[in-house]
């Protein structure tokens, strides 16, 4: 069985559309996205609510999870880096895991074939 890898990309919400288009272009068609809150070096814009000043330490981020097999991991990472890079704190992180198996429920496909997105 080929190596299946999961790539988790945590980044700015407004970058999603571009990221999705870029990943689609290199053949990554499936992904799962969620709203998360990030805590890191980047801090939020200082605000003021009824006279009390505060600085949010949690910032809205998105987590894009994509499981790949045929498309090389390095290409995915490169693509994501290119699209998401602004050079400012808060660009986000990419986490890479190995994965044991994947199953497509619709037709029972397992492994690599479960990831090629034909209808």
């Amino acid at each position: 069985m080929d190596k299946i890898t999961k790539v988790d990309i945590i980044t700015r919400p407004n970058k999603f559309e571009e990221l999705k288009d870029a990943l689609n272009k290199i053949g990554v068609m499936g992904m799962t996205v969620s709203n998360v809150m990030g805590c890191g070096v980047q801090k939020g814009q200082t605000g003021n609510y009824r006279g009390v000043t505060y600085t949010p330490e949690l910032l809205p981020k998105i987590k894009v999870e994509t499981v790949i097999c045929e498309v090389p991991v390095a290409l995915v990472v490169e693509t994501a880096k290119k699209v998401l890079y602004t050079g400012k704190i808060g660009d986000g992180k990419i986490f890479i895991y190995e994965i044991a198996n994947v199953v497509r429920i619709r037709n029972g496909d397992e492994g690599k074939v479960a990831l090629n997105n034909q209808p």
Partner: protein
């Protein structure tokens, strides 16, 4: 056919409907400025203090407030408001007057719920609500509007800056102080933290509704649609004070916090409305604008003072809006009244009477409310458990949740202050 009476009655009843609608305004402001997990509880309090207040005022309160005067301090109890109240010399049917006064009473009662929001036991709130409508409010009402001692001294509180608003505000002060701040409102070293409201749009809608209702509250208090000049004048002064209050708060918050604060601006409009209520009939439009500006400034400073210095947690600013601006607006009558005000050559006589009245009502209300809340606390308990408070009163007190279809943002709450 007595057309004059018909016109006056219609006027009072239309005003009654508008003042009733202010309950919706209070409900929206209070729920909008607090957290989603307590929204249903606040709604319930607003609904029930009106319901309980309506019944209790009819059964007891109206008699105490408007019954035959006993020594200038209290009216004769008249169960179910059955007698004819002819001594009032009303130009409208008694029942029109009764219902108009009922909605005013409920306004005073409802002010407290905002200041004690998000931590008060529902059953305890019902008890408070009953007592204020049956006793605390009607007695002050008697002093000022029922021919009691303050009325006899010439105290001027046209539509209730003091009777309704500051009374509600002082009760709110005692309640919020005795019950203590919400969990997480202050750091261990006493610095206030941010607890954001869950819907600025509902809060703003509430302010618009209140402003709308105030066009019944103030002009209706003439009890006479036939007083055309007076009611027209009251519309103008009411509106200008509100507008000026909103502008003043906005500018002050802009200066102090670098950004025009939405909720402070909303509070400023309300502060202006509360401030003008006492003198709406006897100050000029310019006077009204100045009262609005002063109220708008003071409301911001008072909110800060109560939170930062007094360390009292008033989630919606009720103490500042109703208590402080109510008292202040009543005093300013002594200065801006075109007939008798200090700035119009009337000397300090009116001002002193105003001060006396404001002080007397503050004393009465703070003392009675203090003992009321203490008594409730000792018996049934005033505050929910900390577990209930954390989970939210909707779940724990009412077994439900208000926004079942939306993903709540459960973290974020106490984690974003400096």
């Amino acid at each position: 056919m007595d057309y004059g009476m018909a016109i006056d009655t219609m006027w009072v009843l239309v005003a009654t409907a508008l003042v009733f609608f202010m309950q919706a305004g209070f409900a929206m402001v209070e729920t909008g400025f607090t957290r989603a997990k307590n929204a249903g509880n606040i709604i319930m309090k607003n609904m029930m203090d009106f319901a309980v207040g309506s019944v209790v005022f009819w059964v007891f309160g109206f008699g105490i407030m408007f019954g035959t005067d006993i020594g200038g301090y209290i009216g004769k109890v008249d169960l179910f408001s059955l007698s004819s109240f002819e001594h009032l010399g009303l130009g409208i049917p008694k029942e029109a007057f009764l219902i108009f006064q009922t909605v005013f009473c409920a306004t005073a009662a409802t002010i407290v719920s905002g200041a004690m929001a998000e931590r008060t036991k529902f059953s305890s709130y019902l008890i408070y609500s009953l007592v204020i409508s049956a006793v605390i409010y009607p007695i002050v009402g008697h002093w000022i509007w029922g021919g009691g001692w303050l009325a006899q001294l010439g105290f001027h509180d046209f539509a209730g800056s003091t009777v309704v608003h500051s009374l509600g505000g002082w009760a709110a002060l005692m309640g919020a102080w005795i019950i203590g701040p919400r969990l997480g409102k202050f750091t261990s070293d006493g610095k206030p933290k941010v607890i954001k409201g869950h819907s600025l749009t509902l809060g703003a809608l509430g302010v618009f509704i209140l402003w709308f209702g105030w066009f019944g509250f103030n002009p209706g208090s003439t009890l006479a649609g036939t007083s055309t000049e007076a009611v027209s004048h009251i519309f103008v002064t009411t509106n200008l004070a509100a507008a000026a209050g909103a502008i003043a708060s906005m500018i002050l918050s802009w200066v102090r916090y670098n950004k025009p604060d939405v909720s402070m601006t909303l509070n400023g409009a309300l502060g202006g409305l509360v401030g003008i209520t006492a003198g709406t009939d006897i100050v000029s439009p310019s006077g009204a604008a100045v009262i609005g500006i002063i109220s708008g400034i003071v409301v911001v400073l008072a909110i800060e003072f109560i939170e930062n210095v007094m360390k009292i947690d008033d989630p919606v600013g009720a103490i500042s809006v109703h208590g402080v601006c109510g008292a202040l607006g009543t005093l300013l009558v002594g200065i801006f009244a075109t007939d008798g005000g200090l700035f119009y050559g009337g000397g300090t006589k009116l001002l002193f009477v105003q001060l006396l009245g404001v002080g007397a009502v503050a004393l009465w209300t703070n003392v009675t409310a203090y003992y009321l809340f203490k008594a409730i606390d000792k018996t049934v308990g005033l505050r929910v458990s900390s577990e209930e408070e954390e989970e939210g009163l909707d779940k724990k007190e009412h077994g439900t949740e208000s926004y079942a279809d939306f993903q709540p943002r459960v973290i974020y709450l106490n984690s974003d202050q400096i």
